[in-house]
């Protein structure tokens, strides 16, 4: 396929993919790789320097920073991927229904999206966390709720492009059921674009989840999470500033990799593509 060829020729994109895959694997196998229990305090060794035993040192409770980072992948990255997955599922489902059915159903879904999109997503997330209370599950729900409307609208507009293509018309004339057309003919058409949108957004979701944890609205202590670790590092900033580095760098690298990969995928799909569109969004 042309798209894969173009993507493969982009060395940085391949590098990002390998990096992200590696990060996810590290997260999944964290219990096997991590040198220590991320939750076990060891006051005797607090603020230990880098050593073979503690490669990144220990924090204010003597917990191994490397182990906490590794376990944090599961919380931060895996949850973000989960959030994106759920958002995409809802967005694609409603978007295809709205775009394909037209009429009243379409109108109803779109008006609902209009109202939801009139909130900045940051405010929407705060509103939902405010209503449900702090906590990880609520943060994930809030992220999904804040994003699905945007995806529904995007996917609907993609569906509109395909809807009147000849092969869809032919399928209709041939007597295929609506659900068959949606699943077999519309879904594969829009899926590629949807994945690009999702890759571009995953970095954003990671930032949101860790920001909320940093504020104390997401993950609750002592669960290891990168934003949470930074919030703990804030309290001991004057005495041990180096504690801010590992989680901050981890977030930055993963988000940068997702952003870059998203850009590369977009270029590969549409070499002359409109670059401003994604930025304005």
């Amino acid at each position: 396929m042309n798209f894969w060829k173009r993507l493969k020729s982009d060395r940085l994109a391949v590098l990002c993919m390998i990096l992200l895959l590696g990060v996810v694997l590290l997260g999944i196998f964290a219990p096997l790789i991590a040198p220590h229990d991320p939750l076990e305090p060891n006051i005797k060794f607090k603020f230990a320097d880098n050593s073979l035993e503690y490669p990144l040192g220990t924090d204010q409770l003597g917990r191994c920073v490397l182990s906490r980072l590794l376990y944090g992948i599961k919380t931060t990255v895996v949850l973000s991927l989960l959030t994106m997955g759920a958002t995409l599922f809802i967005g694609t489902f409603l978007g295809i229904i709205a775009g394909f059915s037209r009429g009243k159903v379409d109108e109803a879904i779109m008006r609902l999206c209009d109202v939801l999109l009139s909130f900045p997503s940051e405010v929407m997330i705060l509103a939902i966390v405010g209503m449900l209370g702090p906590g990880l599950t609520n943060v994930v729900i809030a992220n999904i709720a804040a994003k699905w409307a945007w995806y529904t609208r995007m996917i609907r507009s993609l569906v509109m492009e395909y809807r009147d293509k000849n092969y869809i018309r032919f399928a209709k004339v041939a007597g295929c059921s609506s659900s068959h057309i949606m699943r077999k003919h519309l879904l594969p058409g829009v899926l590629g674009d949807v994945i690009v949108l999702a890759t571009l957004d995953t970095g954003w979701v990671i930032l949101t989840i860790s920001s909320l944890s940093f504020l104390g609205l997401g993950v609750q202590a002592p669960t290891p999470e990168w934003g949470m670790m930074l919030s703990e590092a804030k309290n001991i900033m004057t005495t041990h500033p180096a504690q801010m580095l590992p989680p901050g760098i981890a977030i930055m690298v993963v988000v940068a990799a997702f952003n870059f990969l998203g850009d590369s995928i977009r270029d590969a799909l549409d070499p002359k593509g409109d670059q401003t569109k994604a930025v304005v969004k």
Partner: protein, 309 residues
């Protein structure tokens, strides 16, 4: 033109009604009973009788739509009820905190605009040069760095290490500098990229070719391109004013800046629903109004838009 503005004004009415309904609905489907919360924060034992009295006091015993109607009418008159914690009217609390946020957001907006227009235009003109590559590297890192980390690093460097600015609080001009820099940095990278890319794209257009054929100076051509690129940037800017005000939440919490973002997060911890409700409605209205203004400005600048409607 008048017709266009009127049309746009009428179009936001249903959206505003939708927003207010949504905000009210959110709080009311929440898992915790506002009456119970109101009792608990005052350290009263939540006996069934006390809850029943409180429900009557808060008007929670009435049907949903009547409650919504009353709430809507009251909020239209600026009455968002009283805070559960301080017992003060929400409007007072909000208006006490708003100037701090406004100062933070508007100063950040000015800096963001100034810096990103300068670097955006410069990079577009010198596309591919070493400077352009450096700026692009900065943009790339800037979009990936979480704003709370940037804030912490700045705070450590300038407040702890060099002791140039206070770490937190609001007293005097020098305490606003770190929050403003943190907030601007988050947006600057997005806008440099936007302006740069729009200008580069615009350079392919026919009107640029025509200016070249006419033999105009390079500077004049750049000015033409800039004017035409401004529209995309203006729309994005309109979107980002409320985003900026909403984005102050994190910065305000890092630097203990007493604005509405901090008020809202505190309210979330305290389950102080009237304040959360008011915050949501205020932000959404701000968002809609800013969009409207930007649409009108764009229509004023570009006749193609108003004729398209």
């Amino acid at each position: 033109m008048k017709r266009y503005i009127l049309q746009r004004f009428l179009a936001i009415v249903p959206i505003l009604i939708g927003i207010s309904f949504f905000a009210f609905f959110l709080i009311n489907i929440g898992p915790s009973d506002p009456a119970e919360v109101a009792l608990r924060v005052n350290e009263t034992v939540a006996t069934p009788e006390a809850i029943a009295t409180m429900r009557r006091e808060l008007g929670l015993d009435k049907p949903f739509f009547i409650r919504y109607g009353t709430w809507l009418l009251n909020s239209l008159q600026g009455d968002f009820g009283n805070s559960y914690i301080t017992k003060q009217p929400v409007l007072n609390e909000m208006s006490k905190a708003f100037p701090a946020t406004l100062a933070l957001a508007s100063l950040s907006l000015l800096i963001t605009m100034g810096v990103s227009i300068f670097f955006g235009v410069w990079c577009a003109v010198h596309e591919g040069s070493v400077g352009d590559k450096i700026v692009r590297g900065f943009i790339f890192i800037g979009t990936a760095m979480p704003s709370f980390w940037v804030g912490l690093l700045l705070m450590w460097l300038f407040a702890v290490k060099f002791d140039l600015f206070p770490t937190s609080g609001m007293d005097g001009f020098h305490s606003i500098i770190l929050p403003v820099v943190t907030l601007s940095l988050t947006y600057i990278s997005t806008y440099i990229r936007l302006i740069r890319n729009t200008m580069i794209q615009n350079r392919q257009e026919n009107y640029v070719l025509y200016t070249k054929v006419r033999g105009l100076k390079e500077k004049t051509i750049t000015r033409h391109i800039f004017k035409n690129s401004l529209q995309a940037s203006l729309t994005a800017l309109g979107m980002s004013i409320p985003k900026l005000i909403a984005g102050t939440v994190i910065v305000e919490n890092i630097f203990a800046w007493p604005g509405i973002g901090r008020l809202c997060v505190t309210a979330i911890f305290n389950r102080d629903f009237p304040i959360i409700e008011a915050y949501i409605v205020m932000m959404a209205v701000l968002f809609v109004v800013c969009n409207l203004i930007m649409d009108i400005v764009c229509a004023l600048l570009d006749p193609r838009i108003r004729q398209g409607e």
